[in-house]
């Protein structure tokens, strides 16, 4: 009998196999980290910095912080990033997803900077453009030390390491389609791309994917706005790191002092010319460093029946922005198809696009779409006589002396009493920490004046009490308002007449879009079904008031007549509308969740209008555009404010 039985030998062998596995999994116990409690603070606004334009810093230099401090072996080289841009044939990417657009329309979608063409802040001078030029791309790669060995498909560096990059985006078919073309384009330049098509919940999760900078090349979209903002995306202090609890959205880890200062300055000045100048500086640096490759605006489509005229789809305004101008050649009703039903007609608590489309018909509680519109990346007065600006004297940005105990707006975006240690921006635009004495700060005052003859649907004139009620309710946290920043930044409101008031902000408040921060208006005279006056109802009850959420008193072109839950809303023309009774007498909004069904209803004449919110950019667009070509309906394609881009992570974990 042998010394060891077969069973024993087997046990030893199993142990021998398992030991290294266990060791690899567990290893030596890691040294325990030191824990420090962090004080949870309010989410801060982008830090206001002194505007000092300095020489461009090398973006490949490590940023502050221990993690993500190792430059990416490939992407930290600007030549490689620029080569990727030159090797990208953006028109071809666009053609892959929007084959139904004409070449001219496709070309109009190409993005050169972070702002769409035609935007008031989009720069054209001094920016670096990257027209498709694979030869230039190849030359840059050669220069960067990535050469193509004889007969090989992928470039290598001197150490024999391949030029291979991971590419992460969502698993949406749209992105997979253009990504496949992008991968081929990169392969033609000798760059190997390894794609990962991740679920959106992971890629955009609050603690996964993009938020943790878990990518090398990452594709997604931003939505352009009338005000370009941008400091949370590109400033040096907005790089998400473990040491700052991943705050910020500068996922590339890009810190170019010139660009960072310019984007912060652009966001902290009210002078339009100065803003254009600073955004221009930013875009020059942004395109030169090529840390994020702008690809193209998405295309969106809208459609309307041939009977309808003056329908005006726009990238930054909802389809009903000019509803009072609509006219029909036959009949008196227009049916609009929407994919969702508004949760409430109360603008304060519901921010969805469908709510705005419906809300514009009744005046949107005196807000956007009624007081002003936002066509073509700009603002226009509507019920206001004009937009108040510093240039036309409607706004005044004066200098005031503040001392300890005065209420001011600090750099963290909070209303605080001035005391030693409080960080503020002084009148010279410098960030200073208050110690004692007096400091000169900027104080903004904006006067809004409305047109004469504005009435509620019941014939009652608009008056200052309506705006006072709007200010009171919207600024009450119990009302359900999501953000109170603007309310908290106001020092006071002074009424000079029933239709004119001046909003004075706290010293230090410098909202770039001050010209649109109007007060809401609610009918203070309205008597509710239970006999109370609307003005006497506490804010906490408003979100359950049918007179506010389901059947608001209209101040807009239409009156909400009925609302069949889950099916449709019917509006009739408001004879008391200040602009005169609209030509279209009845507007019905139908809720059609499925886009194919919506298109079928358009083609069979059940629906007259499908806006970009409903039609979007899906496969159904082609059907609609073909019908438009055949003259059955009117088809519109517009460059969406949503733009695709590829971020390049400059660091590795």
């Amino acid at each position: 009998m042998s010394m060891f039985s077969k069973r024993s030998i087997a046990k030893f062998m199993t142990l021998g196999l398992l030991t290294p596995v266990l060791a690899a999994c567990g290893g030596a116990p890691a040294a325990a980290p030191i824990k420090e409690t962090v004080v949870v603070i309010q989410t801060t606004a982008p830090e206001v910095q002194t505007v000092v334009v300095e020489a461009t810093a090398d973006p490949a230099q490590p940023v502050v912080g221990e993690a993500f401090s190792t430059p990416h072996p490939i992407l930290s080289d600007a030549k490689v990033r620029q080569a990727i841009a030159y090797c990208t044939n953006r028109p071809e990417l666009i053609a892959s997803v929007y084959p139904w657009l004409s070449e001219e329309d496709q070309a109009a979608l190409v993005m050169d900077t972070n702002l769409p063409k035609g935007h008031w802040a989009a720069a054209t001078d001094g920016i670096t453009t990257y027209a498709f030029d694979p030869a230039q791309g190849a030359a840059l790669l050669d220069e960067a030390g990535w050469t193509l060995p004889e007969g090989a498909q992928v470039r290598e560096n001197a150490d024999g390491a391949p030029l291979s990059l991971s590419f992460t985006t969502t698993n949406a078919q749209f992105r997979q389609t253009w990504s496949a073309v992008f991968i081929q384009q990169m392969a033609a330049c000798g760059i190997q791309i390894i794609p990962t098509y991740a679920p959106g919940s992971w890629w955009f999760g609050s603690s996964t994917g993009l938020a943790r900078r878990d990518f090398e090349l990452g594709a997604y979209a931003w939505v352009g706005e009338t005000d370009p903002k941008g400091s949370t995306l590109y400033a040096c202090n907005q790089i998400p790191l473990p040491s700052n609890n991943w705050e910020g959205q500068n996922y590339m880890g890009w810190c170019n002092e010139t660009a960072s200062n310019a984007i912060v300055a652009a966001n902290n000045t009210l002078d339009t010319d100065e803003r254009i100048k600073q955004y221009g500086i930013f875009q020059q640096e942004f395109t030169k460093d090529m840390v994020s490759l702008p690809l193209f605006n998405r295309s969106e489509a809208a459609a309307a029946t041939n009977r309808l005229s003056n329908f005006k789809p726009d990238p930054t305004e909802y389809q009903t922005g000019n509803v009072e101008e609509w006219a029909v050649s036959d009949g008196d009703t227009v049916v609009i198809g929407l994919t969702q039903e508004p949760a409430s007609m109360w603008t304060l608590i519901e921010s969805s696009a469908v709510q705005r489309v419906a809300g514009y018909l009744t005046g949107n509680n005196g807000g956007q779409g009624w007081a002003f519109t936002s066509y073509s990346y700009d603002y226009q007065a509507k019920a206001l006589t004009e937009l108040p600006t510093l240039e036309n004297g409607g706004a005044v940005n004066s200098e005031v002396e503040v001392t300890a105990g005065d209420k001011v707006w600090n750099t963290a975006g909070e209303a605080v009493e001035l005391a030693p240690g409080v960080e503020i921006v002084n009148a010279a635009g410098e960030t200073v920490t208050y110690e004692s004495g007096s400091v000169t700060m900027k104080q903004l005052a904006v006067t809004f004046t409305y047109k004469d003859g504005i009435k509620w649907e019941d014939g009652e004139s608009l008056k200052s009490a309506d705006f006072e009620l709007g200010n009171k309710i919207d600024c009450d946290p119990a009302s359900g308002s999501v953000s109170l920043s603007i309310c908290e930044s106001r020092q006071g409101v002074e009424f000079t007449s029933d239709t004119s008031y001046t909003v004075t902000y706290l010293p230090g408040v410098q909202w770039p879009e001050y010209m649109i921060y109007t007060l809401s208006a609610y009918p203070s005279h309205q008597v509710l079904a239970d006999g109370r006056k609307l003005a006497d109802v506490p804010a906490s009850e408003w979100q359950n008031l049918p007179e506010i959420t389901e059947d608001p008193l209209s101040i807009g072109p239409y009156i909400l007549e009925s609302w069949e839950k889950g099916q449709s809303m019917t509006f009739v023309a408001n004879p008391n509308f200040y602009g005169g009774e609209p030509k279209v007498k009845k507007i019905v909004i139908k809720f059609i969740a499925d886009t194919q069904q919506a298109v079928a209803q358009l083609l069979t004449g059940e629906v007259d209008v499908l806006g970009t919110e409903t039609l979007g950019a899906g496969a159904e667009v082609e059907t609609v555009l073909k019908a438009a070509e055949a003259g059955e309906v009117q088809g519109f394609t517009i460059a969406s404010p949503t733009w695709e881009h590829i971020d390049m992570n400059l660091f590795v974990k």
């Binding site: 949760a343 999501v482 059609i592």
Partner: protein
């Protein structure tokens, strides 16, 4: 019978609670949610940016600042509403309004901030004054959090239920009335041309998804028919919003009986075909099995008329397994058809459920799930009782 019913009812209560716990838990562990939606709004959002206080308000509205068991208990039985008996446990911690943050400094110099502990707790005393439903077990499903914000969930369900009952009831009845004779005839005439045709149609019906059927129907009977100048069916909705003209039929008034009838035809047709396909196959298989039994052969040998053999001896026995299939009918009729309702824009419970899930309206989604569980269990109970009727050998005891 009474003992059986009592025992089953007790079991039903337990199963309902377990199902409620699981579905409630699953609903809240899914990725996304109102806070993610809110944080997404924070992107590049300037003056209207979201701060910690805003997040806390939204968490409070969705009760996300309460521990899941406490949240569940408030949803299920509407308790606790505050300190017990008015004062006991006022300082008991039942949730966390602001998670704590800890900065970890690793020996290798790395720094990381992670959430740990709680910076600002929620106590029982904080629950006083907060809105709470009376508890779903007492029939109060609370308020809609998103879709019909601040208004009762039951309002939403009642507004959709008639449409679902109308559509699902009609199609289910039609499917049963057609499936049984088709299945029986197909079995009796096994391998006949009729059998092959029914079998082929059944295979197509069971294998083609409802949305494909739906789109195909809309294209064929609505879009193409209208373009060809033929009588056509409206592509969707339960009721029209304006009058329309159909060739040969003439003017159809929106909201009239004819309008409603024309609009239900296509969704009802699709649902009937799908149910019919599966059920006729089931009845055919069951009937074939029974037809090969000795007692059927004996009956035939005794010279019993074929019609009597099939209808009296075979059919009744072949329907026993079919009855089990019908247990799910009750819940189907209530919950509607998720896909078909969406394709035909039918304002029923199925579409409501899909909307509630996609818009994070937890109270609405949970109400529908909870009612479905109860109806399913009731369906099984009814099936068990029906067994004794269709099969005298079975006793509930």
């Amino acid at each position: 019978m009474t003992t059986f019913l009592i025992r089953r009812l007790i079991q039903m209560v337990l199963v309902t609670i377990v199902a409620a716990v699981i579905s409630y838990g699953l609903l809240y562990v899914q990725p996304g949610g109102p806070i993610d939606v809110l944080l997404a709004e924070r992107q590049n959002s300037g003056a209207n940016r979201i701060n910690e206080a805003d997040i806390q308000r939204v968490m409070q509205r969705f009760e996300l600042d309460l521990a899941v068991p406490v949240r569940f208990s408030r949803w299920l039985i509407g308790w606790p509403k505050g300190p017990i008996f008015g004062s006991v446990g006022a300082d008991w911690v039942v949730g966390c309004a602001t998670p704590g943050q800890v900065r970890l400094r690793y020996p290798d110099g790395r720094v990381e901030i992670v959430e740990e502990g709680c910076e600002k707790t929620v106590t029982l005393a904080d629950l006083e004054g907060r809105k709470v439903s009376g508890g779903v077990v007492f029939g109060d499903f609370g308020e809609s959090q998103v879709m019909l914000r601040g208004r009762p969930v039951t309002d939403l369900i009642w507004s959709r239920l008639p449409y679902t009952l109308y559509l699902m009831g009609g199609s289910t009845l039609l499917a049963i009335l057609l499936a049984v004779p088709l299945g029986v005839y197909s079995a009796v005439k096994q391998y006949s041309r009729f059998d092959y045709i029914v079998t082929t149609i059944a295979f197509i019906g069971t294998s083609v998804p409802s949305f494909v059927f739906g789109i195909f129907f809309i294209l064929l009977f609505s879009v193409l028919a209208q373009r060809a100048g033929l009588p056509y069916l409206p592509p969707g909705d339960a009721v029209g919003v304006r009058d329309y003209t159909i060739p040969l039929i003439g003017m159809v008034e929106a909201g009239s009986f004819l309008d409603r009838f024309l609009r239900v035809l296509m969704p009802c047709g699709v649902l009937t075909i799908i149910s019919l396909a599966g059920w006729s196959r089931f009845v055919r298989g069951s009937m074939l099995e029974v037809l090969q039994q000795d007692y059927v052969r004996t009956a035939r040998a005794k010279g019993v008329r074929e019609q009597v053999v099939i209808l009296k001896h075979a059919l009744r026995n072949s329907l026993i397994p079919f009855v089990t299939l019908l247990a799910g009918v009750l819940v189907t009729i209530f919950s509607g058809a998720l896909i078909t309702e969406a394709v035909f824009n039918w304002p029923g419970i199925g579409r409501l459920f899909v909307d509630a899930l996609s818009r994070n309206d937890y109270n609405v989604a949970m109400a529908i799930l909870f009612i479905n569980v109860i109806l399913l269990l009731l369906g099984y109970l009814i099936t068990d009782v029906l067994y004794t009727i269709v099969d005298p050998r079975i006793r509930l005891s």
